[in-house]
């Protein structure tokens, strides 16, 4: 398994993994060990913010796996991210226990407010972390499996597939807005207290969550890389470049697409589960179609079909977003739109693709 993950390693991959290992150690160290008065101290809010970027980066890697390598332009990956986030949020809600405003030992506040007497069955077992962790992976995977099975079997491709992935996330947005769905309606889930027995607000928990985000990003990257560098990855690229030719060679295209789509959805779910405890809230707006489109822009900016580029794009664009929404909030959406147009026109292979071409190496999407 380990050999499978690390085969055909190149400089870019080694560099990326090393960088992630370094920040997973150094950021917590500079946050917890260095005194606040020191110039080298990393403040708590930055740890949480960067942790959020890393969970976005994992979502971007998941999206690049299906879009960059198999040509499936999913405009609904935010749905898998949000479902993973909700699974984590439900665990965190049940950890609040009697410390909620209404002090009900079992029911989360919003259920008491809605006058519910019993816990809905969808919330059973979510007080166990292991069960919640399983759901983080299972729920997005199952949705991807069912959705993908119908879509790929019916040979829905290209822009039509993109449109129905948008509808998927929009439908979930509307559903989760409803109070009677039992997931907190438009307020979503928030006011978390503990995670696996420790305070979610404490600096050490935040630092641990940050480190975990880096670790899962590295793992997600390794899995995605192992997939795309295997013979399986060659078939994916073949499907991306000439789908019907691949069929006539005897490959069951829909099986390949389904497998990679499910793996990607699971990865997006894990990203969502890492995101929620670091931002402290999950609500239906995470299902907004615009979020999924934004994720596509991260991948395009960083470099589609490079994996590393997707992660870098996610961090850079979100860094710019944080900065711009702080200084010129009304310009962010224009900035994002302009960025997408400029990248499409001048950097069609994204930042990493352009750098790879510049330094004489072919982008990873070209090699196989």
């Amino acid at each position: 398994m380990i050999a499978f993950l690390f085969r055909r390693f190149d400089k870019t991959a080694t560099g990326f993994i090393t960088a992630l290992a370094l920040i997973a150690v150094l950021v917590p160290v500079f946050n917890l060990m260095v005194p606040e008065t020191s110039a080298f101290h990393i403040p708590n809010y930055l740890v949480a913010l960067w942790g959020k970027y890393l969970s976005y980066a994992l979502l971007a890697v998941a999206l690049d796996l299906v879009w960059g390598y198999c040509g499936i332009l999913s405009l609904g990956h935010g749905a898998f991210f949000a479902l993973g986030g909700y699974a984590m949020g439900m665990y965190l809600m049940r950890q609040i226990g009697a410390r909620g405003v209404y002090a009900d030992p079992v029911l989360p506040d919003f259920m008491v407010f809605l006058n519910w007497k019993e816990l809905p069955y969808t919330w059973y077992f979510f007080d166990h972390f292991a069960y919640a962790a399983l759901m983080v992976v299972l729920v997005p995977s199952l949705l991807a499996l069912v959705f993908g099975w119908f879509a790929f079997r019916s040979r829905v491709t290209g822009v039509y597939l993109s449109i129905i992935t948008q509808s998927l996330t929009y439908a979930l947005l509307l559903a989760f807005f409803r109070n009677d769905m039992g997931f907190g309606g438009n307020n979503g889930l928030t006011d978390f207290k503990d995670i696996v027995g420790v305070s979610i607000q404490s600096p050490s928990t935040r630092a641990a969550l940050f480190a975990l985000s880096a670790v899962f990003l590295a793992l997600g990257f390794l899995v995605a890389r192992a997939l795309v560098t295997s013979r399986f990855g060659q078939v994916l690229a073949a499907i991306r470049d000439a789908e019907s030719r691949t069929r006539f060679l005897g490959y069951r295209v829909e099986h390949y697409k389904l497998l990679v789509f499910v793996v990607s959805a699971a990865m997006a779910g894990i990203a969502g589960a890492l995101y929620v405890p670091q931002v402290g809230i999950i609500n239906p707006s995470e299902f907004a179609p615009a979020n999924s489109i934004e994720a596509v822009i991260w991948v395009a900016v960083g470099g589609r079909g490079t994996l590393v580029g997707a992660a870098i794009g996610a961090v850079l664009v979100n860094f710019a977003k944080t900065w711009l929404t702080g200084t010129l909030p009304e310009f962010w959406l224009y900035g994002l739109g302009a960025l997408f147009i400029l990248v499409t026109l001048f950097l069609p292979k994204g930042i990493v693709g352009a750098l790879a071409a510049r330094f004489g190496r072919r982008g990873e999407g070209d090699t196989a």
Partner: protein, 250 residues
């Protein structure tokens, strides 16, 4: 039992296909023997490509019988299943995997397991690489082995696609306009190649280039408006008055 059927690699009987009222195939009946080389000619819209679409599972016939290897009904199968039976296809417009190397294109086509899991955990065997080298030698792309397929010339892409067909090692090859855009020398070479393949494999070639068809030196079928107009040797078919009227011209 119908001897035509049992001796055939491909047997089409009374096959009809309509698109929005246009009859692309009209009661088409065609029998290709095992190991036979067959040329199909006919004007545009005669149904040549539709015939290949029906055989390879891309298009479902409205009615009629399509039987492979004397016993397998193809009308209910999809492309992947039909390809797995041993039917390979070369498209009119050369379609190779542009992003991958010549060698990888051939490896993708090489006969062997096709399931997602086998490709995930399988390793390339030494044998596979040898087979690819054999094919590279036959289609004379050995020097371009590590080049990206997208950077090949049109003629080279045609050859690569023929090489992919060989790597697939099918019982029946359907070859749609293999010499379009080729130089005269390349055309001659292709005719020689296809003739040499026939025997081990049945080969059905659709082509407009009459000198190429003549070089194939095989039985010729002329299609017109979705059914067979004439069939026989090239001399017989090209002397047929109706063939001259609708296709060859006076």
């Amino acid at each position: 039992m119908n001897p035509d059927l049992t001796d055939s690699i491909l047997y089409l009987d009374a096959v009809s296909v309509s698109f929005d009222g246009f009859r692309a195939l009209n009661e088409l009946s065609l029998v290709v023997g095992r190991g036979e080389l067959r040329a199909i000619i006919g004007p545009n819209g005669a149904g040549k490509t539709t015939m290949m679409d029906v055989v390879t599972g891309k298009t479902r016939p409205d009615k009629g019988t399509v039987v492979f290897d004397g016993s397998t009904d193809l009308t209910a199968m999809d492309e992947a299943a039909i390809a797995a039976l041993g039917i390979g296809r070369k498209f009119q417009k050369p379609t190779v995997f542009d992003g991958q190397t010549v060698e990888d294109n051939l490896l993708l086509a090489l006969e062997g397991p096709r399931s997602a899991f086998s490709s995930l955990f399988g390793w390339r065997s030494r044998v596979a690489v040898d087979q690819v080298l054999d094919v590279l030698a036959i289609v004379r792309l050995g020097d371009l082995r590590a080049k990206r397929a997208g950077s090949l010339s049109h003629g080279q892409k045609q050859w690569l696609e023929i090489g992919m067909l060989l790597a697939q090692n099918p019982k029946l090859l359907l070859v749609d306009e293999p010499v379009a855009g080729m130089t005269d020398a390349e055309t001659e070479e292709t005719a020689r190649l296809l003739t040499s393949i026939a025997g081990d494999h049945a080969v059905v070639v659709v082509e407009h280039d009459m000198s190429f068809v003549r070089a194939l030196n095989c039985k010729v079928t002329c299609l017109h408006e979705g059914s067979v107009l004439a069939e026989g040797s090239i001399d017989l078919v090209s002397a047929n008055d109706r063939v001259i009227d609708v296709y060859l011209g006076r």
